[in-house]
């Protein structure tokens, strides 16, 4: 059973990678001829021919696609057309920065959104909770980069408390995490609060209260677990969004991550690097989604296969 489940997942991964690769192949084909970018001004036909031959651009489309597929199977995405460095290495080199930002902002999202969601969901009709819910609705509409600009203006320019470039110092982690956390937390907060509010109406909660259980126990041990499946599904999606590279935030904070490399490679039509980035991101998103699935099964017995 475990083996067949694993095989199923691997098959899904293969389909995902094939799909991503095919889409990218078509999209990049439409973007133009990289040989023209490489050849510089007024290239001679001979030079263009030489460059096309060097990068395999002179082959028929189907052959190019098959060659590319074969290389992908060997994790060979070729070299960057600008730097000559292996494309996969360039993508992997940026990964720590992206993962650091993802973990930090997700961590911040969890520690703020879950307690806030529980607090609002406990008594959603109370004026303070309604105000809180309204605030989260407003916050949800503010894009991360807008919050980033405001935070930089306040904490970097006006007060001079924090740096805004890179991630060498831990102090530089604060503002990007808050910017992204501020964007992600309201949605999670609303999902948690809705789940908790719904659970609070259930008979088992009423029974627990009748039996004298403390409100803290009821909220955290009884109501919150009922809200978790929806929350975990959302967290999975949000984490997948973060690992796929947050271009604007990485640009604003000069945070060396996949988003910056993606932007740079797209602007320069650096096809091998773009393909390597998409491959790495697809793998990460797949891994995160599967992790979220596994977590969901762990916390919700109804999702487990019947034989278990």
């Amino acid at each position: 059973m475990i083996l067949s489940g694993l095989a199923q997942r691997l098959a899904r991964l293969a389909i995902l990678l094939l799909g991503v690769n095919a889409l990218l192949f078509v999209a990049l084909g439409l973007a133009g001829d990289p040989a023209l970018m490489l050849a510089g001004e007024d290239p001679t036909p001979e030079l263009l021919e030489r460059i096309r031959a060097e990068y395999g651009l002179d082959l028929p489309v189907w052959q190019r696609y098959l060659v590319q597929l074969g290389r992908m199977a060997q994790l060979d995405f070729g070299v960057s057309i600008y730097t000559g460095q292996p494309a996969l290495f360039m993508a992997l080199e940026q990964l720590p920065g992206t993962l650091l930002m993802a973990v930090l902002s997700m961590g911040l999202t969890l520690v703020t959104a879950i307690p806030a969601g529980v607090w609002i969901g406990h008594r959603p009709e109370a004026a303070s909770r309604r105000f809180g819910a309204a605030l989260t609705a407003v916050a949800q509409g503010i894009p991360g980069f807008v919050m980033a600009l405001v935070l930089i203006q306040l904490f970097v320019v006006r007060l001079g408390w924090l740096p805004s470039l890179g991630y060498a110092q831990p102090a530089a982690w604060i503002l990007p995490s808050i910017s992204l956390g501020f964007f992600l937390a309201p949605k999670l907060c609303r999902v948690v609060s809705a789940g908790v509010a719904e659970a609070m109406q259930e008979d088992y909660i009423r029974t627990a209260r009748a039996n004298g259980a403390s409100m803290r126990f009821i909220l955290w041990r009884e109501a919150l677990p009922a809200a978790l499946p929806a929350a975990v599904a959302l967290i999975g999606t949000q984490f997948a969004f973060l690992v796929s590279g947050v271009v604007l935030i990485e640009t604003l904070f000069l945070w060396p991550g996949i988003g910056l490399l993606l932007l740079h490679s797209a602007q320069n039509l650096d096809f091998p690097v773009l393909q390597a980035i998409c491959f790495v991101v697809a793998l990460l998103v797949f891994a995160v989604n599967n992790l979220a699935d596994a977590l969901l099964r762990l916390i919700d017995p109804r999702l487990r296969p019947a034989t278990q």
Binding site: L36, M37, G40, P43, R50, P86, S164, G166, L260
Partner: protein, 512 residues
């Protein structure tokens, strides 16, 4: 692969240490190790391979690591740099006498033999495929007469060879050979004041450290260059004191910096902002008529754009070159803002009611561009031309440029005389001499060819003046403004200067 680079870097450092010990060179001691933090808008896509592209953004980094034989001085004249002198021996021969005692950052000597190796590569088949190699296409042979003398022989007279050499960086030939072009691009070795330590540290910065062998030892031992393409990020980082030197701020923000003790430097090598007319690709369009193109030029109020939008930093352009460029015709004045004349010309051309057109623009390349576009739209609408602006990415723009197939009747294209500082280069771009021309007037060809071969400076200057006038009559572009980058330098720093469109960071010193 990372290990390979680390090893290469370690090997380079070891070589430097051993060579220093052997040569008994005492590197300059730096009491203050605080890095000089410089914000630029982009980094070179090809890292440390200085032959892949020409000019900026590469020059911002490469000119710290490498030196060419010549450079432009403050007046825009071509002067020796790694060369001590140069002279024209005949129509096809040039002699360059090189500076003595210069060493590469790995301790190896720079001399005519090493320079010859570099030029031999540039004129080889492989080198000719690079943009800088292509600039050397007229060179047939380079000979090292002795350790200090290089003789260049050209296929045909090339009056701007010394200008072309401003972009030929002297890489260390042995490292180039041993590391290969790709390996070298990660661990470049030159004669410049700085040595590359890291292409991207955890702050996203390129890190440069003082080259112990530098013939021009830097005033600050360490430089961090931050590629901040977003204007707001540059501004905020500068205001918060995270940067010492910042480029491309908006003119209206300069007073804020001046009030804080910053100094403002403007590039003396200016390019001419313009929209080119794709006459070749749109032969049936109104823009194929010279009167229509002249009407465009008369419709624009350049003075208002210059003074109101750019605070006077970018004067109205009169031709395709700025005043400090060789071949600039001082007798020409900018087109006067004359909407009546523009309407008259349109009517004569058969468009009394005007027409609609479209221009492709790349945004974010110079300050306040959106405001400028709005003003242009307004001025053109006043004479009946309804111009729509279509934003394109640079990658899309450059693809159309190389293919010579433009989707719109107008597109953004500066008249760029850098780094050669000679008016001929952009003229050739706006001519039948370009492989896939967008503007081709056969009557200009003879003049362009003659100016490209004339070795007598005065006669050549006269030819370029005449060509400037002819181009003005034919109006192949909507000329806008003369524009150069602005650099803002924090208080406490002295010696900053921009040459050949790149900052000379080695000159910067911290002062009390």
């Amino acid at each position: 692969m990372r290990r390979d680079w680390t090893l290469a870097r370690a090997a380079l450092c070891s070589c430097v240490i051993l060579a220093l010990a052997g040569a008994g060179v005492a590197p300059r001691a730096y009491a203050d190790e605080t890095p000089l933090r410089v914000a630029v808008t982009l980094m070179p896509a090809s890292f440390g391979d200085p032959f892949r592209t020409l000019g900026v953004p590469g020059d911002w980094v490469w000119r710290q690591i490498f030196d060419p034989l010549t450079e432009s001085d403050d007046e825009g004249r071509i002067v020796p740099l790694l060369a001590e002198s140069f002279e024209n021996l005949g129509p096809n021969t040039w002699r360059f006498v090189l500076r003595e005692g210069v060493r590469y950052a790995n301790g190896r000597p720079f001399n005519a033999f090493s320079a010859k190796e570099v030029f031999d590569w540039l004129i080889s088949d492989e080198g000719q495929a690079t943009v800088v190699g292509w600039e050397m296409r007229r060179v047939s042979k380079v000979e090292a007469q002795d350790a200090r003398t290089l003789i260049f022989t050209t296929w045909e007279p090339d009056p701007v060879l010394p200008n072309r050499l401003t972009s030929a960086m002297m890489v260390e030939p042995q490292a180039w050979r041993e590391l290969g072009r790709q390996g070298f691009s990660r661990t470049p070795v030159g004669t410049g004041s700085y040595l590359l330590t890291d292409w991207q540290n955890r702050n996203g910065a390129v890190v440069l450290t003082a080259n112990p062998y530098a013939w021009r030892p830097p005033g600050v031992s360490r430089v961090e260059m931050y590629p901040l393409r977003d204007h707001a990020s540059r501004l905020q980082a500068a205001l918060s004191g995270q940067l010492d030197i910042i480029m491309s701020l908006r003119p209206e923000q300069l007073d804020i910096f001046r009030a804080r003790g910053f100094r403002v430097h403007a590039d003396i090598l200016r390019q001419i902002l313009a929209f080119a007319f794709d006459v070749t690709g749109h032969p049936d369009s109104p823009i194929a008529d010279v009167r229509v193109r002249q009407a465009f030029n008369h419709a624009i109020d350049r003075k208002a754009i210059s003074e109101d939008i750019l605070q006077g930093f970018a004067p109205p352009a009169s031709q395709g070159s700025a005043p400090n460029v060789f071949g600039h015709n001082p007798r020409l004045r900018p087109y006067p803002h004359d909407p009546d004349k523009a309407r008259e010309l349109l009517a004569e051309a058969g468009y009394p009611q005007g027409f609609s057109t479209e221009v492709q623009v790349i945004t974010g390349t110079y300050p306040n561009d959106l405001e400028i576009f709005a003003k242009l739209q307004q001025d053109l609408a006043a004479v009946g031309i309804d111009m729509a602006f279509r934003r394109v990415l640079f990658s899309d723009w450059i693809r159309q440029y190389f293919q010579g197939a433009w989707r719109t009747e107008l597109f953004t294209l500066a008249w760029n005389t850098a780094p050669h500082n000679d008016a001929l280069r952009p003229m050739e771009q706006y001519s039948c001499l370009k492989a896939r021309p967008f503007f081709c007037d056969e009557t200009l060809r003879a003049g362009l060819v003659a100016a490209g071969r004339e070795m007598d400076t005065r006669r050549r200057e006269a030819l370029l003046h005449e060509l400037a006038l002819e181009y003005r009559r034919r109006a192949p572009s909507l000329l806008l403004l003369e524009y150069g980058h602005m650099w803002v330098v924090a208080p406490g720093l002295s010696g900053f200067r921009v040459r050949t469109r790149a900052p000379e960071l080695y000159r910067v010193e911290r002062v009390e």
